[in-house]
């Protein structure tokens, strides 16, 4: 057994060039991971310890920092706000996006290509362009300082990517599927909800992950539309810790760890799907 394996996979010669590449990649990996691990270390020290020797490994773990950051920075409520805003945005943009994508990909009408292009252009528009007009209108309608008001632009800006990814998923489905369903007397809505919807699970998953990551990290719109501390999302809450007078570093880092933990977890579980979303989105564009 051992022997056949040896013969089948003779050890590949690793040349000096490949060794150099590995060395380079390893150094780079350290540059990527060190700041993140270091942040974890600092978040477990006390302030005096950070000032004295910021790069040493903590001797005693100050878990208290997390509890303090949690209450000081109002992270609990911020976490709930983030989950709420991102969750609703996710569901609604997937629903609206898949409906539009289905009509574009599968139904026959003159303007379907035009509609596809129209939604795609949305991907290029910087958020900054709508900030002021939307803020003015939302202020008049009482939609500033409301989570619902924040969801509206989030959903809108998630739609282009969702529609784009899902259109390519729907197009890749075999047409006979819908024909057979139609012959059996299945209406268009049932075709969509009972056939296309369940078959597109991968598509939903991939575009859902992209939507979640983007909105979870969004800062500018959240800063503009929300000023009530009880309605702020996580990234905005972190800005409490910015500025020359912010000196409570250990708490700041504990807060940062709490804020990035969900995306780190999601990424380590589903990195392949996230990458797939990024690349299908770009390759087919």
């Amino acid at each position: 057994m051992e022997k056949t394996k040896m013969i089948k996979n003779p050890k590949k010669k690793i040349g000096p060039a490949v060794t150099l590449i590995y060395l380079f990649l390893a150094v780079l990996a350290v540059i990527y991971l060190a700041p993140l691990l270091w942040m974890l270390c600092v978040s477990l020290k006390d302030n005096a310890g950070v000032m004295a020797s910021p790069f040493s490994i903590p001797t005693t773990f100050q878990w208290q920092n997390y509890a303090d950051a949690w209450s000081m920075g109002k992270l609990g409520i911020a976490l709930i706000n983030s989950v709420l805003v991102c969750g609703v945005t996710l569901v609604v943009s997937l629903l609206f996006g898949s409906m539009a994508a289905f009509a574009i990909a599968r139904m026959k009408w003159k303007l379907s290509e035009a509609a596809h292009t129209f939604f795609l252009i949305g991907m290029m528009v910087p958020v900054h362009c709508i900030l002021i007009p939307l803020f003015v209108r939302f202020a008049k309608m009482g939609l500033t300082n409301s989570r619902f008001g924040l969801m509206l632009p989030y959903i809108t800006f998630s739609l282009p990517m969702t529609i784009f990814l899902l259109t390519s998923f729907f197009r890749s489905m075999p047409g006979e599927l819908f024909e057979a369903a139609a012959i059996d007397g299945c209406g268009i809505y049932r075709c969509f909800f009972k056939i296309a919807f369940p078959l597109c699970r991968t598509g939903f998953f991939v575009s859902g992950l992209m939507t979640f990551v983007n909105n979870w990290n969004e800062l500018l719109m959240a800063m503009v539309f929300i000023s009530d501390p009880n309605k702020k999302t996580l990234p905005v809450t972190l800005t409490y810790f910015v500025g020359p007078y912010a000196t409570n570093y250990v708490q700041m880092f504990a807060a940062i760890i709490i804020a990035i933990a969900p995306t780190v977890i999601v990424y380590s579980l589903f990195s392949n799907q996230i990458v797939e979303g990024l690349t299908t989105g770009a390759v087919k564009g």
């Binding site: 590949k12 490949v18 590449i21 990649l25 990996a29 990527y32 991971l33 910021p54 790069f55 629903l95 609206f96 409906m99 539009a100 009509a103 139904m107 026959k108 009408w109 509609a115 129209f118 910087p126 958020v127 900054h128 362009c129 709508i130 900030l131 002021i132 007009p133 939307l134 803020f135 509206l152 809108t156 739609l159 819908f178 139609a182 209406g187 268009i188 990290n217 800062l219 500018l220 800063m223 996580l234 990234p235 905005v236 972190l238 910015v242 570093y249 880092f253 940062i256 804020a259 990035i260 995306t263 780190v264 990424y267 990195s271 990458v275 990024l278 690349t279 770009a282 390759v283 564009g285």
Partner: protein, 295 residues
Amino acid sequence: MDKILRDKKAIFIFIAPALAMFVVILVIPIIQMFYYSLCDYAALTPPKFIGLANYKKLFTNDSTFRMALKNSIFFMIFSAITQQIVGLLLAVFLTNIPKGRNIFKNIYYLPCVLSSAALGLLWAFLFNPKIGINQLLAKIGIEGPLWLMESKGFIVLPMWVIAFVALWQYVGQNMMLYMAQITGISRDLYEASYVDGASKWKSFRYITLPLIKPMVVTSLSLNCIGSLKFFDLVYNMTQGGPNHRTDVLATELYAEGFNYFKYGYASAISVVLLVLCLVVTVVIKKAVKVETYEG
């Protein structure tokens, strides 16, 4: 079959929600933005039409805006060049190593999915004058510069620091895009070239480079538009300081609009930003000619 797929009412019902959101949240505000940019409009008074006066002031009489414009353009050019080169290099390296491709790939892409607001705080701390990197430098007898507070030079030091942090954070995206494109190239092409005696470099130059051209357009446009829109890292690392020296278009727009409530003036800045984005996209599309290859 055809009949139910041509059902006009169903098409309308499917498209309507997305379309409505687009029109209300995107299209109408963009039109309003153009109108506001031609108005004298502060928060409490209604907009008053003043023609091109905002633009005139922007380009002739506003050194902060010129600084922001300069920084944004510097940042775009720097990001475009460095991220394209490093991203492509990493993609080529990773597609050529026998083992460990996924581990490295996932590590380099990690910061792309993390909140740049959070990472900005982290780097601001590391580049703090007394603690962080300077403390390490002091140990080996070097007095580190004031990384984020230096205000001399055409492009100030903090801007370079931010640009490198952005490179660190976002280069993974280019790497991923190029890796996807390179792994899509047929192995046969490379094998044929080795049979013909081509070196690694030659096969890179004559096979890989031409075949990834379509991706250059996408990834370069994403790069450039992304850097023009750039806000989070600057806001959390320097807030535009010292003395507006690291302001970019997005932070300047935010300050004029939401610190000073000059809605008209800030709208003019966002028009400039939108126009820049459109121009850059068109230029890249025209400049990188994509030929189609058989194979």
